[in-house]
Every structure is written in structure tokens, then in C-alpha cells.
Symmetry: D2
Subunit: 362 residues, 4 copies
Amino acid sequence: MGSTFGTIFKTTTFGESHGLGVGAVVDGCPAGITISVDEIQLQLERRRPGQSRLSTPRQESDEVEILSGVEDGLTLGTPIGLLVRNRNQKPGDYRKMADIPRPSHADYSYRMKYGVTAQSGGGRASARETLARVAAGSVAEQFLRAVYGVEIVAWSSQIGGEELVLAESELETITRAGVDATIVRCPDRQKADLMTLAIESAASAQDSLGGVISCLCRNVPAGWGEPVFDKLDALLAQAMISIPAAKGFVSGSGFAAAAMTGFAHNDCFVKGGGGLKTETNFSGGIQGGISNGQLIHFKVAFKPVPTIGRAQKTADYEGHEVVLEGKGRHDPCVVPRAVPIVESMAALTLADLALRQSCTRF
Amino acid sequence: MGSTFGTIFKTTTFGESHGLGVGAVVDGCPAGITISVDEIQLQLERRRPGQSRLSTPRQESDEVEILSGVEDGLTLGTPIGLLVRNRNQKPGDYRKMADIPRPSHADYSYRMKYGVTAQSGGGRASARETLARVAAGSVAEQFLRAVYGVEIVAWSSQIGGEELVLAESELETITRAGVDATIVRCPDRQKADLMTLAIESAASAQDSLGGVISCLCRNVPAGWGEPVFDKLDALLAQAMISIPAAKGFVSGSGFAAAAMTGFAHNDCFVKGGGGLKTETNFSGGIQGGISNGQLIHFKVAFKPVPTIGRAQKTADYEGHEVVLEGKGRHDPCVVPRAVPIVESMAALTLADLALRQSCTRF
Amino acid sequence: MGSTFGTIFKTTTFGESHGLGVGAVVDGCPAGITISVDEIQLQLERRRPGQSRLSTPRQESDEVEILSGVEDGLTLGTPIGLLVRNRNQKPGDYRKMADIPRPSHADYSYRMKYGVTAQSGGGRASARETLARVAAGSVAEQFLRAVYGVEIVAWSSQIGGEELVLAESELETITRAGVDATIVRCPDRQKADLMTLAIESAASAQDSLGGVISCLCRNVPAGWGEPVFDKLDALLAQAMISIPAAKGFVSGSGFAAAAMTGFAHNDCFVKGGGGLKTETNFSGGIQGGISNGQLIHFKVAFKPVPTIGRAQKTADYEGHEVVLEGKGRHDPCVVPRAVPIVESMAALTLADLALRQSCTRF
Amino acid sequence: MGSTFGTIFKTTTFGESHGLGVGAVVDGCPAGITISVDEIQLQLERRRPGQSRLSTPRQESDEVEILSGVEDGLTLGTPIGLLVRNRNQKPGDYRKMADIPRPSHADYSYRMKYGVTAQSGGGRASARETLARVAAGSVAEQFLRAVYGVEIVAWSSQIGGEELVLAESELETITRAGVDATIVRCPDRQKADLMTLAIESAASAQDSLGGVISCLCRNVPAGWGEPVFDKLDALLAQAMISIPAAKGFVSGSGFAAAAMTGFAHNDCFVKGGGGLKTETNFSGGIQGGISNGQLIHFKVAFKPVPTIGRAQKTADYEGHEVVLEGKGRHDPCVVPRAVPIVESMAALTLADLALRQSCTRF
């Protein structure tokens, strides 16, 4: 249960890191939309391990197949099956940890939930599952851009203690190319260098770092979001917190709003954009859970990767104290690779609400 | 669309502030559960306006009727219909604002979404809708307590600049009675006084304040939460951000996790509680989106109430500049009254995941 | 569980015959649709007991209230709450039967399901629940007629052994007024008289009769229905069989198709109606689960009312043999009153698929 | 849209006959259930074309892969990905018919729905899609048998004009082996011979035949089925009518009930089976939409295959009259091969309702 996201544009993912493959079925994508498999592949590459010196050298070859739903590059209106075969399975690496639940990992809670101890069980909690989200998210993004001109761009806005603070006006100029210009996916080169140093320093201590990803959605028309439970920000929150390692979500002013007064926080209207726009955007483009035509802006906090080389005292399932040292190579910081995942989940959320809005007025 | 929450324990709400009433249908509550209408009423009283000097004196009489699904105090397994009639409708108050979208309110985005200009349309975005959540949430809470012993308690942990910071150990002692001992619903009397002052100061400036609500869920068994999209924290995030005025959600360490290392952040296991427990709880009781048997802990940020008496320059729907002064009496801070709403949404989330978990193992 | 129908145009019903009332919440009806409460009331009157000499004289006053979602006669896009209060509760009538499960009624299976023995439990299986369907169905019908010009008409095509067989060409002229011209709701007056006699004869034997309702949906555009599980005929089948006492569903040629050859059964195309039409309509207007623009045509079989005055040997819950004689007055045949219920369920099915189709092409 | 079946035990299918493959994702199957891939394969073989002289000689090699969700033969509780690659694609066969909508086929309605003309579009309406249902249905069946001892068996009870009528007592002895003993899947050898002759006679006339499949579900506990819309018989009706070519569904007495009196039709109770049983079973094991512990019994009518070799006058999309002769080899009667499809859809329906019932009482 729980592997489907969306009401009309519905994505169902499947696959463990140790099974035959990982994939998604996208049901509800309208017919006649141009879908480029190369563009899906491109987003998968941005998520792929081993793409920079900051990432585990494990070279997964993540080639996506479109099994169904697309013919001659056009969607048929039928379910789009997407599959990425697993090739680099080394079950042995994990077998030896079978008796010790890794701290702050999903091993323990999965075992308590399902009552099975399987190498593949935890594999559903692995970052590899996010492949399916990125593949499906790219389909959603291609639909959103083609029909509405929506653009989504995310970046690393904090890694460890290094935070990039931007003025509202600076948001305009951020592009995916600009983000990808640095290996940490921070559009400010100076801050990017500091972030890179922070990751390398954590890596050399066999430790890991957390961070924050910021995301913008441009050209979202006013009116998307379904009161009262499926508000745009509420579904973005679900979508983002469902990403492995996410610990927090804010839209617009976020927790800073708590300390503000209404007078300071209110986004007053002025003429503009062919109708009304707001002078400020503390709302993050969402009012009453519905897009208001302004720039949508939100952030997601990620915890540090729990798998570290540094030795930790913990307990095995029997309760015996053990010392655990993470084997193999793991990313010391997932944030740069999580950037396309955040974009993908935003696309899946928006695509569904776009279709829902198309049923609201006649 | 969007007025249903939950997959098995499903709550559908209806009602505008200017219609005949507000209510909910809870479908999927198991049969044979004892439901006290008095306990529902009690939670409604905690949400009610006019309960303290900090709140608008509007005296709504919010009496709940159980229309169906309960007989002789026991659930039948059939849908539970809950209705609170509206009695204190003053449409005139709002009519005069019909031409001016209130800043940071839902007026503008609702009109863009639905294409209708109705006093009742915005009424769905009004705080009154949350009555239905509280009534349904109380049913969920009674089910959770009866079957699993789950306890949920929330409190105001920040109002404006006044923040209550608690050590992990202090969380144990927080009770709903302790929370209700102060009118701001902060369990620390000294901090509560400062919060009260802050609200009164904002009120006297015809302004408003935001804040943060913290929430604990005790005795949640390990295993609740459905990977990968319906994780416990992901659904809590949706539930919380769906509350009017919510701007942020964190579980456990939240945004602080971004600046931590894995070594510092990992919750290592030790023997305890008849199995394993964790020494720290940065995870907030949730690992891999599944409860791990530890205390569940999350926070929700609320923006300041957008309706303020203080004059603001904004524009009407035609784009003409106008000066808006909020009429009538509005709460200068919703946070104290939102405490039972947070508890209710937590209960609705947990009740559904409890039932989903009961289908996972045989 | 199970009280919600539809994916976008979603109807949730609640209420037992012995509770405070019966109602529905319609979430997903588009905004700006004109809804007449009088028209809802009219359909409720057609379903009401006591409307003719063939029906129980119990005079229920079934007045519907629109609690929310409609203002000044226009839908707001928000959930439409509909409530009919119960007034004629005589729990005593049923209390005495509490120890004996009525044959072919839902008493036994409800008790096995829910583990509770409540007068109201069985009340969910009572015909009174269908009030909510008819109220919601009228909203759906008003939407379908306003936006698409869809017309739905059903009639009693068989009662006991009396069957009205019509040629394809005769279907064109059937109207709701024509159907209502006879108390059995059969548009052929001669056949109607025979049906009336059959019911009166069963009634005088303290027995009951079954029958068949036929239904037409006119002006349904080609393209409605969602492969592969939510085909138009598949959802009509669910909708119809969910009506109390329904035992069978056919569309188009139905079981007669089994004995036909492909050559005889195929609906060949000819030019017509601005595009293509079919020369015959064995498909009943649905091909591959999708409407093809021809007349939609289906039938529903209803069993005889299980509550009869005539004495039957059966057993109580303990297994002791008892003789049961139905007390009170019950309709000897539900078919005439079920006509608007069939229409309502057809409307709910079509309204949802209409909205789903509006998301399919851009 | 519409490619997902079930609420808890959810099956999503994908794939066209002309794409890379056909498959299903089963989300919600409990953890720890033994799943045999051989048993899935066996059901696929029973559905496979070319298995007898009555079927098209096209030899599809339908090998199923379990992509995820099962490890060492046990379910993990995670989504079960099932894939059958297409190998025998001959797009050319269909290309030439692109301008002519085949009568009583889905070509025309698909084009009207999706606005695309693709060889693969119609491929979603092809019988090949049912592969995915059978694979998923086998998983459901293995779960039902392991946990509840449920047994499902279907057979051809009518082909063309040849109908097998069985007494209630004869139902006890029907087994899948007995059904498979004849190539038409009729457990009565004499009747089977007549059915075979009927099919061969239709085939030699380049025509096709319809038929009826009967299905029994044994050992279903009392209590399955969710009032009011998701009744057991209502969901069976949806499931069955969603099978390509299905035109009618009845449970228990079906349309015969229309002509019966309540006294004759009522299933009176007697002591038995450790509680109560019914003397007759006109209800088909379902009362008030809930299983009552008796044998579940229903029938599905199938129309004759619309693709025939015999020449028919019809029109192309432009409205020009054309003569169409079906090329290639097609089954003259789908009924024998549809037997495992009916069983599979029954299993998917029951598995979901079993899990829903497990949330109803605590």
C-alpha cells in the first residue's frame, strides 16, 4: 500500500534495490502529449550515483524503457509503463548487516511493519526507488511544460552549515543549467565551493552531511489546488516529505512566519500581469491552498545520510551492543542528487492538480 | 474535490461559514467502538471562538449532532455523519468586502479557481471548516485510544518571537490539562505569560501574530506508515499543511538536521521496551516513513492571521488602489485555538494508518 | 467503508433508517452549475413510499435540505451537503425481530460482518438509504443536462411474468412523463395494467414480486468510460448492482449475445450524425467500455421483496426453527419506486466519467 | 485513468498488444505470503492462445517475470511488479485496417476518446491486456487460498445455443481439473462435445460465437463486501463487465428472480455449518451485498468475437461504405480462454474485500 501518488495523474512505483528492476506506471497522462525518452534519461542521469567526485563511484547504468502508453513519441492516453533494470546488485554487501538494524535507517521499522527480514525489504526504502519517481516526474514535467509552460527548478540552498540566502529578485534568474554548473547544484559558485568543501570534509571524517533544497515553480496559473485536504501546499508537503531523508517542508515564509505580524506578512495586491499580482510573496505563490499566479516557492530539509563509515555503538536485533562501521562507498551528502527528485515530485503534484482544475469549471 | 482525507478511515467534510452548517462523514471507522458525543463536544469547545479574552467574542454555539453510524454509544461500522449547524451568520460583514480580495487570504485564489464570487465560497477557506475536522478527529482519537492506547497532545510552542524550547525529557510530562491551564495553551506558565503579552500587544496595534504548534503522539506501535508515498511523516505533513494558515512542517530534528552530521544525528539502538529503543530521537519516532515505537514528535508553523484592523494599501479586483481596514473582531492569533485542530488531524492520520497496518500481516 | 462512489464527481452517503437522517456529500461537482432544489425534491417524491395504492401507506415526509455548496442556486465548486431528516421512526417494529434474521434480507450478513446487533445496522441496508442516492443523483443529472444535454429515463420493463418488449425504434419516444403516467411506471398502458394486476395479486397473497427496470441514456457523447477497469458498462454494472435487491445487469444485447454469431451481432457503421453511426445497437451504445455516441441502453433485474406477510419457516440466530410473518406494511414490489434510483445511479456514473473524459485530451 | 482495481489490494495494469510488454503492479498484498511463479504461469497458460485446436495458432510465449515484491518465494509487503514481454508483434496486420473502424470493436470509441489513431491504442482493448489481470489474479488467488482456504472455479456454461444447466447439488463436484478435461472448459463431457461442434461450425463459416461463464467461490467467510457501493456483488459486477466482450452479469437467481415471488425466492435459514445456513441459495451467497457464508455463484455473458473472416458491409472513418473481411487467425469463441480471466477478476475482488473486512472489527 502507499505506492500510488495522485488522483487523476496517478503514478504507481514498484521495485527494490535488490530485485530485477525499479519502475513506475503513470496512469492518467492525457493523450497526444509529446514525450521524449531522452529527456527522461537526462533527469535520471542527474539523479545517478557516480556523476561527480562527491558521489559514490558505483556506476549504475540506469537506462529507462518505456514499456507502454507512448507510440511514435506521443502519449496514447493509456498507462505509461516505465522500467529501469537493476544491474549492479551486490546482495552480499547487505547480507552481513542483516542482524543489525542500521541506526536512523529503515531496517528496524520495516521489520516491525512487515514481519519479514529480507534484503529487498529495506531495498524499498533505498534511494534507488527514487529512480521511478524521477522517470514518472519527467513525464509529468513534459506534460506541464507543453500544455501550461510550467517550469520547475530546484537547487541546493544549504549543505551542512553553508546556506545560500537569496533575495526575491534573484530567484528570477535561476536556471537548471546554472544549477548544474556546480557539482553541488548550488547556483552561486562561491557558496558552492564552500558547500563542496563541507562535503569533502565530512567525507574525510567518514561522516555525512544534511542540507536543504529550494524549489521554484514558474508559470503555474492561478487556481490549482483542491480545498480542503488536497491543497497545493499540502500535497507538495506530502510529496516532499515522502522523499527518503526529508525532515521538513516550508512554503513561502515558512517558520519565519511565526515571528511576523500580519501587517508585515500580508501580500498586498497591485495591478499587474494582466490582472492582479502581489507586491511581496510571503505566501510562496499559494493562498488558501490554491495557486495565486505568483512564483511558487518552497524548501525541503534533508537529514545527513545515516550510513557512515565512522564507527557507532548500537545494538543488534537481539539487543546486544555492537559497533557498526558502514562498509562500501556511500554518498556523504544526498542533497545534490536529490535536486531532480524534488523537481520530479513537484511535477507529479502539479500535473495532478492541473488535471483536477480542468474539471472545476465549464 | 479534495474534501476527503484517508484511505480506509475516510473523512469527508462539507460546509461553508455562510451556509446552513458544517459537518463530516467518517466512513471506515470499525464497528463496536465506544464513541462519546461529550468528548467530541469538548474538543469543539477547545476550538471555539470566544473561549478566552484573547479570542473574538463572537459566541458561536457549536453543538454537534451525530446523524448516523452510532447507536447506544457504539459505532455500527457504517458512516458516521456529524453536523454542526451555523447560527451566527452575518453575511453583511463580508458582502461589503466582495470587491476587494483580502491580502494573504483565499478570496483571490478562490475566485480564480471557481470563477464564482460568493460569500460562501471563501467560507470554505474560513476557520469554521475546521470544526468538521475536530469533530471527525475526536472520533479517530477515541478509536485510537480504545484500541491502541494512543495519546495525542499538542501545545503552543512559539507565539511571535516567544519560543518554548524543551528538552527531550520534559516532553514526557506534557498533558492536555497542563496545556489548557493557560489561555495560550503553552504548558510553561512563564513563557505562556510572555506569549499572552505578545498577543495583547499585537491586538492593541490592530495587528496579528503567527506561531508554532508542537505535537506528540504517544504509544504509537512500530509499523505504522505506508511506503513510499503514504509514509507516516508524509501524511502528517499533508494533514498539517492542509490546516488554514499553516506554512511549515517538521518531524523530529526538522531543518536543524540540515546542519548536522550523520554521526551526531543517528539514533543508535539500545535494548529497551521489551525489544529495542533508540538512545536519541532525532527521527521523531519515524524511520523510513514508518513509526519505530518511539515518541512521535512534529511541529507546524502558522502565519499571522491575515485579517487585521490596521489599514493596508492594496487593490480591488479591478486593480484600483484601495485602503483596507478589517472590520469586526478577529482573533489576533489563531495558534491557541489551532491546538485541537493539530491534534485532530494527527488523529485522522494515525487512525487511517493503523487500519492500513492491520492489513499488512496475517 | 464503501459509501463513496466516483473518482472526481464523488458521492458519499450516510444514514440509517433509524438514525437522525439520511444524506449525501457530493464533492467534485463543478462550480457555476444551476441546481434546483425543487428538482431534487421531485425525484425524491418519485422514490417516496405511499405515492400510489401499490405502495406502503407509510407517509414519509422526505424533505431535502442543501446544507452547503450551493448559493443563490449555483454550485460553488465546494462539497454539496444534502440531508433528509428521518421523522417516521418506529424502532419497535424491528426490535421484536432482533432475534430472527429475516430470510434473504441483510440481517444475518450484517451481523456476521460488523459483530454488532443494532436496529440501525440493518437500517443501512434499508431502502431508505437510497434517498441519498436519489438526491445526489439529481445533482448529477442537472449537471449532465446543463453541460451536455444528457437525458436519462428508466421504466419498469418487467414485473413478475409480465414483460414489455420494445423495438429499437420505440425507444425514441419514451419520456419520463410517459413513464409516470402509470402507477407501475411502465410506458405501455396495457402492459402496465397487467403489471398492476400482478402486483395486486401478489399483495393479496401476502407475497411479493420481482421485476426488471430498463434505462436509456440519450445524448451521451462518444468517449466516456475509462479502460480497463472503469469502463462505462463496468461502472454502470457496479452502480446498478449496488442498489438493494438488484440481481443482474446487462447492457445492449446482454445474455442474448451468448447465443448469437459475430456476423449477426456486429454493429456495422454507416455515415450519419455528422460522423459515423451504427446500423444496429447490440452494443448498447458502449464499445470497448467507451460510449460510441449511440443510445446507451441497459437493464437491471430486481428480486422480489424478501419481507412478506406470508408465513415462512426459518431459524433464529440460535438455530431454533421459527415461523416468521412479516409485520407492518411493505411494498409488494419495489420496482416502480426503484425507477428513479436507477436513473440516479446512472447519472452519478455518467457525471464522473464526463469529468474524467475532460482530463483526457488537451 | 481507470487501470487500477481495488482499494487496499490494488492492481494497476499497463501495456498494449503492440508495445514492449504487458504487466501489472499489485500493491497491498500482505507480507509473508508464499507466491509460486509456476502457479502464475499455469494460469497464464490456461489463458494463452493456441492451446487447443479451437484457438488461433498464434504461439505467444507468455513468460511472466516477477520484477519486485517477492523474495525467496515470499511477499515482502511491497508492490509486486509483474511483466510479460511481447514477442509476437505484427503491427502490419493492423496497420491496413487503420482507416476502417472494426464493427463492435473498440477502434471507433478509442479514437473518439483519445483523439489519437495508433495501432497501440486499440491494443489496450485487445485480449492481450487480460494477461496482466490473470497474473495479478493468480497472486490474489494464492493469498486467498493460503489465508482463508478460498477456492474459485469457473467454466463454460453456455456456448452459442448450447447451455449446461446444473442442479445446486451438482455444483459441489466441479473442479478446475474437471473443467480443463475438455477443450471448451465445460465440466460435462457430452455438453462439451456439442459446444465444440458449435464453435467448429461457426469457425468454418468464418463466423464467431458468444457464451456464458459460470463461477463459484467456495469457503468465502460471511462478512465480505462493503455497503453501500462496494458490495460484493456490485464489485464482482464491475470486475466481470470490465472483461473485454462481457455483456451481462448475474449473481444467484439473476434475471429469473424477476418472475419469482418472495415466498419462492427467500432463502430460509436452518441450523448448520456451526451456525446458520440457508436451505436454498437464490441469493448466490450474497445478502445485502455481503457474503453470507454460502456458496458464491455468478454468471457472465460474453458476446461473439467481433473480428470475423466473413465479409461485412461497414464504413471507414470518412463514412465511405467498405467491405471488411477480418484477416489473420482469430479465436472463433473467446469463452474457453476467458475462464481463467473470470477466475482472476473474482480473486482480485475477493482479495480486496477480505482485507477491507480485516479493518472492520477489532
